[in-house]
Symmetry: C2
């Protein structure tokens, strides 16, 4: 492609409303333009990158035996009513009426459509399992679209759905997709982790993993072990628990005693007034879980993880009790509440269960207990992991490594749905004995457009993008320094033809611009290999620059083809 | 692909609601499924055909120098207000509100978006011309969706837009796309004509062509010359006009005289009562054209072409006058109106201008004139082509051939928009002299999904589809007659591997079904080459069937690769 003809405008300055570097660089390098909040046009360079990513996804989906189809964006409201999601999905679901006043949703996801399709097409175990996928435009009316393609309202997604006869089959389909996702993101040049995640509101039994590209601007926090391959979403991450100290091992422990603590309501106040470690305090909060009250006790230096509490209780809704309700249930206002003598069930975090000399609220205004020894003083009926892990916790899997907390951009998600949709929509089949069974489903998503942002967040320097070869819009940037020099242009055009003939994607900067302008644009666009044709061309020499490593060398122009091929082979 | 694993269900019977053959076959062969009226899912076989067509389009667009981008479906209402189309587009435009009550349209086309984009990106003649295209999903809330993919509400379209500095440039861009379209449709195996069309409501100066796939179920009528390459939409088609007979060449013509014609109001009544040819009657109708009255006179056996009348007058709106208004303007009710003595302008069709002895209304209840000789009796101020052509008319271009009328499916459309959108949206540039000029635009559409319907309408027999090799979902259908025969299956799997290794797309029917079922499905699906592995396989022979020609022959299995290659090369 001749750059003089390319539909591309670069910008020197970052637009004021672009907060994150990937958004800034995508605008500056002419990859995308905003049409409305969270709604973007992909310019030719951006479209090319998108196509590279789509191509990698298709190859790996086909390799994994998934079959491509294409479902519509316009989905009848009736289908969403059948699954029960029409009323609960909220304002993210874009709804519209057709000219006959029939209601439709613009698909944010396609569980309903695919389930109704497979229900109608397949009725025998003989035609299962099957995994179907599409690369298709999704619509979600985000409350706050931002960060360019990271949180947009119209975006490209790869969504796949598997259908199996039993849990064992679902397990195979799930790990098959899991492996395909690892290959896809690796081929895109991403630094990512597959992290264990909570199944969340979408429901369903069984496992789920999120694929997270590590990046400081990521909206999710993930815990990653320094030694083993354990990685989990913060909602789900578990730390290793120290060994249990049996009650009789601490025969020296003092007896729990109530003492006056006027105006000491917060952990900080207790720490300062009593000169104790926050880890020695038992923090107790009252929650309403599906209309029933429960207490949760964690160490004073920990945060309660509500997802873990919900999962332990098996409830749909969990909310902290308002102060009046808490006082009614415990006899004290928050700040003086503690686990001793409560009538509501008490969930005790493992770390609390292992304390031997704690301070806890006495459920009486301005009083606390000291020398609380839970194994002795409490009924340890509900002990579990109810806290958020923190940086430096021991890994629960290998028990050797430390957990580090990173930020991640969610680029993919695999999920065992089980029978959630198939049961509601009646996707059944006849088993070999002629009995009706419900299909087991999995769903698997990749944020195709979001991958562009993630790649750039991980691959840039102060001058611009550093495209991995596999997803670069072009592989080679040919830059004749002076288009007025007949010799330089001739050399450049010869190299251009040779590279094209060998199947390389080449952009040639044939614009009559100053070298400084060309180099700045080239740095910004970040094609992997740059070949500069300047004065040395008359001696048959050109400069080859590997953009990422900023490795420059003067080479014989006859060696260009070989060197470019070597580079690409080493990269991809 | 193993057919046992393919997500495909064929149907023996045509669904009741599928009126046309392409719709029936697409459902029966498992290419598409309906989700809602005019909203379809493409199953794997259909998706593959779509991708073949997309690939051909991309290759030819790139060859023509067009650059691909991708614009959003969600378009802010403000843009449509800027172009003036938001209020006039009607209920076909799907409108919606986001959560902040901002109005959006779901793009039925992208003139507004592309014009605003190019306005913002390009401001100098140096960066023109440019042609941009996308393959993207469009939404049109058709009043009556039908015929499967032929008239649907969500569909895939390739739309391109060119931007030039002057009309000469636009002309080049236009014909460049015109040639690309010819290549695209030819490669898809379609029998089509590029027909001259009227610019219609979309407006704009200059030319437009519609690309029509000939098919009896087509919604448009086109006139095609039997001798030359003239082809035009019926709205636009012109017949050759017989030589003019000067007034003095018919000195024998009788004088126009009024005569009593009680209760003779229609052409039929006049023909029967007076025993004359309808071609000897002058039919005169009164129209209201942008609030002004005009009369239009054509031969009694002709229909008035309102598009031609509108274009002649240069008006936006044309409607036939109601009887009361017509009587007020002429002094007579419809049935007694004629061109003599009218005070409103009279548009006279060329055929009428050449008559020498006509019968026409006298603008007096129950009276007509006979011996009307327009060249003598009328002021021939507005003579032109105001009628629809009919089958058998002489061609206006070569004057030798006859015009035949065919039905056509519109598969593409090229259109010179001129400055219609660029002027309204302010897409200007600086010319070499530093002056501001308005860009000249063209727009170019292809109904990508509609091509599937057109191909099938033209390529089928009573048993199923006859895919042209270039767009077939798979090229070769391998059919081992009995999967229980180890020898047949081994031969089939060997051929499968060999064909795949050579890059052919192969579907192998490895299902344990009766041969009759397999052949019926194979006929329905219509892959170009079928290879049947039956008992003769033990003698090293297989049957090769060219589906389209129903050409069968027993060949040595070692000759299969060579024969398939020969076939494909002869087809594509």
């Amino acid at each position: 492609m001749r750059q003089s003809q390319l539909f591309l405008s670069t910008m020197r300055e970052s637009p004021a409303d672009a907060e994150v570097i990937s958004h800034q660089l995508m605008l500056r390098a002419g990859l995308i333009r905003q049409l409305a909040a969270g709604v973007y046009t992909y310019l030719p360079l951006g479209r090319r990158v998108l196509q590279k990513v789509e191509h990698i996804i298709r190859e790996e989906m086909e390799r994994a035996g998934a079959q491509e189809l294409l479902m519509p964006a316009m989905q009848p409201a009736e289908l969403w009513q059948e699954s029960g999601r029409y009323s609960v999905y909220g304002p993210e679901l874009i709804r519209l009426h057709d000219r006959h006043e029939r209601e439709f949703a613009l698909g944010p996801t396609h569980e309903e459509v695919i389930t109704s399709l497979v229900r109608d097409e397949i009725n025998s175990y003989r035609r299962l399992p099957v995994t179907l996928y599409q690369i298709q435009t999704k619509f979600r009316d985000e409350r706050r679209p931002r960060f360019g393609l990271l949180r947009s309202r119209e975006f490209l997604m790869k969504d796949a759905y598997s259908f199996d006869t039993d849990w064992e089959g679902l397990d195979q389909s799930y790990w098959n997709m899991y492996r395909a996702y690892n290959r896809i993101f690796a081929r895109c040049g991403l630094n990512f982790r597959a992290v264990e995640a909570d199944s969340g509101a979408i429901g369903g039994e069984g496992g789920t993993h999120e694929f997270m590209a590590l990046a400081d601007i990521g909206e999710d926090a993930i815990a990653v072990c320094s030694q083993c391959d354990y990685a989990a979403n913060l909602e789900k991450a578990q730390a290793a628990v120290p060994a249990f100290i049996e009650a009789d091992q601490r025969a020296d422990a003092g007896t729990a005693e109530k003492f006056h603590t006027p105006n000491l309501r917060t952990i900080d106040q207790l720490v300062q007034a009593l000169h104790i470690d926050p880890a020695a305090i038992i923090k107790t909060l009252i929650f309403i879980a599906d209309n029933k009250a429960v207490a949760v006790a964690v160490r004073g230096d920990r945060d309660i993880n509500e997802i873990k509490v919900k999962n332990y209780l098996g409830v749909e809704n969990l909310a902290i009790a308002d102060p009046a309700a808490a006082a009614r249930l415990t006899g004290a206002a928050p700040g003086s509440i503690g686990p001793l003598g409560l009538t509501v069930p008490v969930l005790i975090d493992e770390e609390v269960a292992r304390m031997t000399d704690g301070v806890a609220g006495a459920n009486e205004q301005d009083y606390h207990y000291r020398h609380v020894y839970p194994a002795r003083d409490l009924e340890l009926k509900h002990v579990g992991d109810f806290r958020n892990i923190v940086e430096g916790d021991s890994c629960s899997r290998c028990e050797k490594g430390r957990l580090n907390i990173y930020r991640g951009i969610e680029i993919g998600h695999v999920f065992k749905l089980g029978t959630k949709y198939s049961a509601r929509l009646g996707a059944t089949f006849l088993n070999p004995d002629g009995q009706v069974q419900t299909m087991l489903m999995g769903c698997y998503g990749i944020g195709v457009s979001r991958i562009l942002s993630a790649v750039i967040e991980q691959n840039h320097d102060e001058h611009g993008i550093l495209w991995p070869a596999a997803v670069a819009p072009y592989c080679v940037h040919l830059i004749p320094i002076s288009v007025k020099s007949g010799f330089q242009m001739q050399t450049a055009m010869e190299l251009y033809s040779e590279l094209l003939a060998q199947g390389f994607e080449v952009l040639i900067d044939d614009r009559d611009e100053r070298p400084g302008v060309k180099f700045k644009d080239s740095d910004l666009m970040g094609l992997p290999v740059r070949i500069i044709i300047g004065r040395d061309a008359e001696q048959g020499m050109v400069e080859l620059v590997e953009r990422k490593m900023n490795k420059k060398e003067l080479i014989d122009k006859d060696a260009v083809l070989k060197r470019v091929r070597e580079f690409v082979e080493s990269e991809v």
